[in-house]
Structures are given as C-alpha cells and as structure tokens.
Symmetry: C2
Subunit: 314 residues, 2 copies
C-alpha cells in the first residue's frame, strides 16, 4: 500500500505519556490531528491528560489549527490499538536502549506496513535501535526539543537500514505539522542542537570551576547578549553579517578562529582554510540568499526589537 | 571633587566613530543624555551621524527617554574638548593594544579627575591597557555587544590598578542608562559572553569540518531550538528547570556532565562534584529566587510564546 502524502495525514499515534510524549500529543492536537496514544503505566492516561491540559493555554495563545480539539485524543488500552491504521507513529519512551529496541520492534510489527515510525530519542542512533525491527527501513529519529509543543525544532535522521524515502517523508510530514525539521545526512551523537548546547554548557561549567564567573553572571551574560540574537540568527549568519560587505570570507581571513591570544575558550577550533573555508563561505552565501550586509542588519535590528519588546511585555 | 551619582549623569563623552562607538552614542542619545564625541578621522563626524541616523528608527520603535534627541550630540574638534567636564567617558577605538594604552592615558589626562572612563575593548584586559594612565584607578572595561543600542549586555571589569568603587560606579551608571550590566570580579580573556559564543562557534566549525552538519543545518537547529530559550533563560536555569522539583542538584547527580557515551561534544567538561556541585546548585537556587519548577515552566512557556509570536510578526 502506498504511503499517504505527508500533508494529508489525519491521525498520528503517540507512544509514551511522559513530558516529551505528552508534549508531542499536545502539539499534534493543536495542529488539528486526531491522536491515538498509549503508555503502559497505570496512570499513563491521567498523566497525559494533565500534561496536555497544562500545555493547552499556550497552544491557544499561539493559535490552534481549524478543527483542533483536545477531544481528538483517544488513549488506547493497547499499543497495537494505538498504532493500528496510523500513517505516522511518534515513540517517546524512556531513553534506555534495550527498551527502545524492543518497543520499536513491537511498534513496527503492529503498525501498518507503510507507516513511518519516529523515535524521540536524544541519546541513541537509529542504527542501534532498529536491530530487531522487521521493517527497519521505515524507522527514523525525530528528535524534538523540550517542550515539543512550543519549540519548533525536530532533528530527523535515519539509521544504516533506514530508507531515504522514510527520512524525506518524515521531514515533509513534520513541516506539514508545523515543526521546523532539520534533516541530517548522517548519524551524529547528540544530533546538532544538543551538541551546540553542550559545548556552551561545558565552557560555562569550566568558567564556574575556575572561578571566572558565577552561575548568575553566566546566565545573565547569555540572555542579555548573544542569546537574544540566537533566537533568530545562528552563529554562521551572525559572523557573516559581522564581516560586513566581505561577509564570512572577510571574517575568516581577518579573524581566523582561534587567533585570540590568550585563548577565549578551552575548545581548540579546527584550522579553517582551503576547502573548509570555501564550504563555510559558500554555505553562508547560500543561507543569506542574496541579502546584503545592510539587508541583514535591518533584519537583525527588526527582529531584535521584536524580541526585546515581546520579552518586556511578557 | 566627589563623583556625581550614577543616576544623575547628564552628559557622557564617546571617543571613536566606528560601529561600536557610534552605537554607544545612539544608545546614550536615546536614553536622554547629552553626548560629546570625538574621532580623529576626517570623516568621523559624518560617519557617526550616518550610523546614529541609521539606528534611530529602531530606538524610536523601542521608545525614547523623555527629552531624547539627536540634537543632543555635539561632535567636538578635539579629544580634550569632548571629554572636558563629562562624568563618564566611553572609549571605542580600534582594538589595538598600543593605541588603547596611549589613548586611555590621553583621555585620563584630559578628563575631570572624578570621571569614570570605560573601554569597549573586546580583546584586552584593563591591566594591560591602564599602564600609562596617571589615574588608572578610574579605568574600567565596559564591553558591549553589537549593536550596543539594542543588545542590553555590557560586561564591566577593572584591571589590577582599578579601584572597586570605579567598577561599582560604572555598573550602576550603565544600569541607570538602560543597559544590563554584568559586573565581573576578575579579568578573563573574552569576558563571559564571547567565551560562551566561541565555545559554541568552535563546536559548529568542527561539525562542518567533520561533515556532521552543514552551515545552514547548524544555524537552523540553533534558531529553531535552544536559541529561542537562550533569549530569556541561560544554561544554568534551563537545566535547573529540566531537573524538575529536584532542580540542578537532581540534574547533576543523575546526568553528570560528560556522561554521554559516545561524547556529544569535543570539549571535555570539568568533574562536577563536591564544592563545585554545591556552588552550582546554590547559584541556581539563588537565581531561581524561590520560583518552583512549575513557576519556571510557566514563565518559560509565557516567554517562548511571546518570542515566537514576535518573530512570526517581524
């Protein structure tokens, strides 16, 4: 049977009633999907209802899709009942490898053969999780950021036995469901966002350990400084803009990463030259998409003002 | 002569008509100060006027202080004329050490003896910059983030010969002038925010170098993910919240930094145990200031919604 179009899915199955699983349920309900859910815990249904109820006012404030309703959630007595006939399954069980391996095999056995099955795991690659599944080719990682009903990011990546069309379908489905999907071309421990977060987190821990700054100073310096820009402009475009009309090429040639003396951080950067330099410059130009330095500055200022005003009012 | 109260300053002197210097001028004008400025370049005045003009619509959108006007800027023909009688001087010359050393000595010689003099340097410590000044005790670093008229952060720190009262006064003055001042207790290369930024930036460069992610994937993963939270919640409070009712103590004891296998980042974290653990837990509790996990979650959601809506509209 052919897979339904990613934009035509009307029901999704969500496995797991924890903070992440219930957060997914809240998101899908708010985007107008019917959701069938399951969790093995005796209080799973009550917990999911409580978490969805807590998330709902935020989702109403952001705007519900036509037809969105908490009544579209059906908590099923069995896993098989929850996934039966669903075009898409989001698994959000606790992050233990043996549990994930068995659970994904069980979901795979119960789901319609053409369904795509995604795991919320933050700790494992799909290659190590798909080993017991009969149809590993339709298993992908769909890693959300907490809370999944508010933070748009979902990182999508397959394992060695995953078919590219499942990764592509999941990415298109998440986008249709209102998420911002980053489709990765290979498995990387921690995916992307957690790696960036950990690098900053470890430097922060080192600073406290060395008596260079306090917990509160670090949090304040981030939120009053670079954190405000990172809400809408990543590190590459930020430095591309900082390079003026010369863009990232000018930045890399005039202030090569790691040229500060003494060093500003404990992580030594790679040597950015030759092909790596060109890849980065080209990536920035592609991302800028024809926007000049002046365009980017206007956009940065407009968004900074919007964020500052919004936070002042909140 | 006694120093004027930090909240009673009515005129500041700004030295340097580059992006940062002119950004400071725009900020101080918007907050209702009179500004006297100087730059040695023949086109310094024209450049400053152009940059202030470009910044002004953003400042109007954020709301001007009573009496704020671009007419309160006076570009002076000499450095001495610009700093004469000003209670506060912000130096924003190019970041070259020899230039900063001489310029700060010159400002120090020309300024009123009780004035506080701050350098915008991002590259040097005040200890190495204050060596030729006759009154080094009133020289501080006041490191802004670009653009200084929109990003609130200013990092304040003295050198070995700086008096604590000058650091305290500068901090209070910046706060009165509408900035968010982080007063550091010791000199650290890169201060705080740039260190955090560099740690993330170097991990991002490594990811591109290793073929783990592209420029655009990294920027998108940050802005659709952790960047949205970092606009209002730093890494410590974020993980304190993630620890639920057990807070940061629960986080550190159950998911010790660096426990991921394989490692999520190239920077090895410090061992977080004993006194360091307690310092971090206490810092988080102090920062939380009695807010429970539920309070913090509500606050996070409220601010996330505000930021998401603001960016959607911008």
């Amino acid at each position: 049977m052919a897979r339904v179009e990613p934009g035509s899915v009307d029901r999704v199955a969500c496995i797991g009633a924890g903070v992440i699983g219930s957060g997914w349920v809240a998101h899908f309900l708010a985007r107008g999907y019917r959701v069938t859910a399951w969790d093995p815990a005796p209080d799973g249904e009550a917990r999911m209802n409580r978490l969805v109820e807590a998330a709902w006012p935020a989702l109403e404030a952001l705007g519900l899709a036509p037809g969105a309703s908490r009544a579209n959630l059906s908590f099923e007595p069995t896993l098989a009942g929850a996934v039966a006939g669903a075009a898409f399954v989001q698994e959000s069980a606790p992050d233990r490898l043996a549990l994930k391996v068995d659970l994904l095999a069980e979901i795979d056995a119960a789901a319609a053969p053409e369904a795509v099955i995604a795991s919320s795991t933050s700790g494992f690659g799909m290659t190590e999780m798909q080993v017991k599944a009969a149809r590993p080719e339709r298993l992908v990682v769909g890693h959300p950021f907490n809370p999944p009903y508010l933070v748009p990011l979902v990182e999508v990546v397959g394992g060695e036995k995953t078919a590219q069309d499942a990764v592509d379908w999941a990415t298109a489905f998440y986008e249709a469901a209102g998420k911002t999907a980053v489709k990765m071309s290979r498995e990387v421990p921690g995916f992307i966002a957690n790696r960036l977060q950990e690098a900053l987190w470890y430097e922060a821990l080192h600073m406290v350990a060395a008596g260079e700054a306090t917990v509160e100073e670090i949090d304040l310096a981030l939120t009053a400084g670079p954190g405000l820009r990172w809400a809408f402009m990543g590190p590459f475009l930020t430095f591309h803009l900082a390079g003026g009309e010369g863009g990232m090429g000018h930045m890399l040639d005039h202030w090569p990463p790691g040229s500060m003396d003494p060093a500003w951080t404990r992580l030594v950067p790679p040597k950015v030259e030759g092909a790596l330099r060109d890849t980065i410059v080209e990536g920035c130009e592609e991302e800028a998409g024809g926007r000049s330095a002046a365009d980017l500055i206007r956009e940065r200022d407009r968004k900074l003002i919007a964020v500052l005003r919004a936070l002042r009012e909140a």
